[in-house]
Structures are given as C-alpha cells and as structure tokens.
Symmetry: C2
C-alpha cells in the first residue's frame, strides 16, 4: 500500500528518526513504511496520522480504491 508519509513528514521538517521517536517506534520502522516494505499496524497508522495532522484515509492510498 502506498502512502504520503515522507511528504507529510518533510512538510513538518522531521527526520525519520524524529518521527520515529514521536510515534514510539524505531527509525527502521518508519523507513520501511515510507518505502512500502510493509504496512504499519492499525495502531501505528493512527499515531502517524495524528502526528502528521491528517487522517489514515488521506495518509494511505488503498490502491484498489484510490489508485
């Protein structure tokens, strides 16, 4: 599943590590999600949406739906 985390993160002037700390995960987790290695858990998706001041439905692109 695609997402616009990198884009939103940069708009907030956050490094992967800074975002990771805010979300209480590791930098590798943020990196993997940004590069679509795997999808986050629902709980982490909610955290990221909140930190990046958006919604899950806007942050992630369900390819079967929006792509």
């Amino acid at each position: 599943m695609e997402n616009i985390i990198r884009e939103r993160r940069k708009q907030g002037h956050l490094s992967q590590e800074a975002l990771a700390k805010k979300a209480n995960v590791t930098r590798q987790t943020i990196n993997a999600i940004e590069n679509a290695k795997y999808d986050p858990s629902l709980a982490l998706a909610f955290k990221l949406a909140k930190i990046l001041e958006t919604t899950i439905d806007q942050l992630f692109i369900d390819s079967k739906e929006n792509g």
Copy 2:
C-alpha cells in the same frame, strides 16, 4: 482498539460469515476483531471500511484520541 464493525455490519444485515466472505478473511477473524481480541491489519481495515461504506477513522476508535 474499539470499533463499530458489529453495529455497521448489522445495519447492512450481514452475518459475520457474510462479511468475512466479502473481505476475504475467515469468520473467526471478523469475530475476533468485533470482540477486540486484536486489531486488523491496515489492509483489512480499509476493506472493512469500504464494505461497510464508511472510513477507517469512523470505523475504529483510537482510545488515546477519541475515547
């Protein structure tokens, strides 16, 4: 994490099994999620939101946020 899947499912007159088939998962998975045994994957959350004609942000209640 809480959710209103059961409520939305019943509004659509679907059994757990019927919803499971639409979402391509097993009945046990739907049952476990409705009873908050665990959270679905992000992909499944998107599927359920679509089938139940709502959004993830409305279907699930992030207790740290909305509770």
